[in-house]
Amino acid sequence: MPRLTLPAEEAYLTRLMGFVTQMAEASGFNSERIRSIELTTEEALVNVIQHAYPETAGNVSIDCQMDRNGRFIVEITDNGVPFDGLDFSDPDLDADLTARQTGGLGVFLIKKMADHCRYRREGERNILTLGFEVPTYDDRKHADETNP
């Protein structure tokens, strides 16, 4: 399965996200869906950089593959401190401009935009799995009809 491992640093974000985008393109997603996949990956990576390695440096790996249910799976693995990349409370969407806070926004976007997400700690590793349904022929046909 294709895998990219790089230092978990902001300087490598563009390359890490480029890798996922390339894999998603090869799996037949349209450009809108690719943006969602890219966005959820960015949010997950930024959280790894900030929270899994708060003081030390380390690597992050991205694996992309199709699972047996035909879903496109992005798995993000780090060797940092235990950190559940999905465990944030949702932002208060009803707050007005002055009161609105931005904490937890990235995780909220992950939960809303990925079809499936799961965190697990395995040994010394944090593993976040994001799953995306691949559009079927009928979905694509329907999208073509509704968006000529």
């Binding site: 960015e42 930024v46 990235g106 976007l109």
Partner: protein, 113 residues
Amino acid sequence: MSMEIVKNGEQDNCVLVAVKGRIDAVTAPEFDKQVGEWVDADTSDFIVDLSELDYISSAGLRSILGVAKRLKENDRALTLCSLKDTVGEVFDISGFSTIIPIFDSVEAALKER
């Protein structure tokens, strides 16, 4: 393309800005710096044209919210216009569409804001 920010002058006491490309964790600091300077150098409202913005993540939303809050503190306003569908979706999901006025075009933003 990463990000390009252009200031398109001023109209009806409103600074017109266009952001192209991406506002993500990599480019957001540059957005904060550039737009922050323009906000400080002026007393007008801001209209930001996002018709050529292809991608925004939570880092970008945070930057937009920062500008909106900063302007509001001085009784000024941020208005956005011409969001692409994919960008609009992120604004909708995050609830930002309800706290920041969004219009279909710069003209509509100038007229109706």
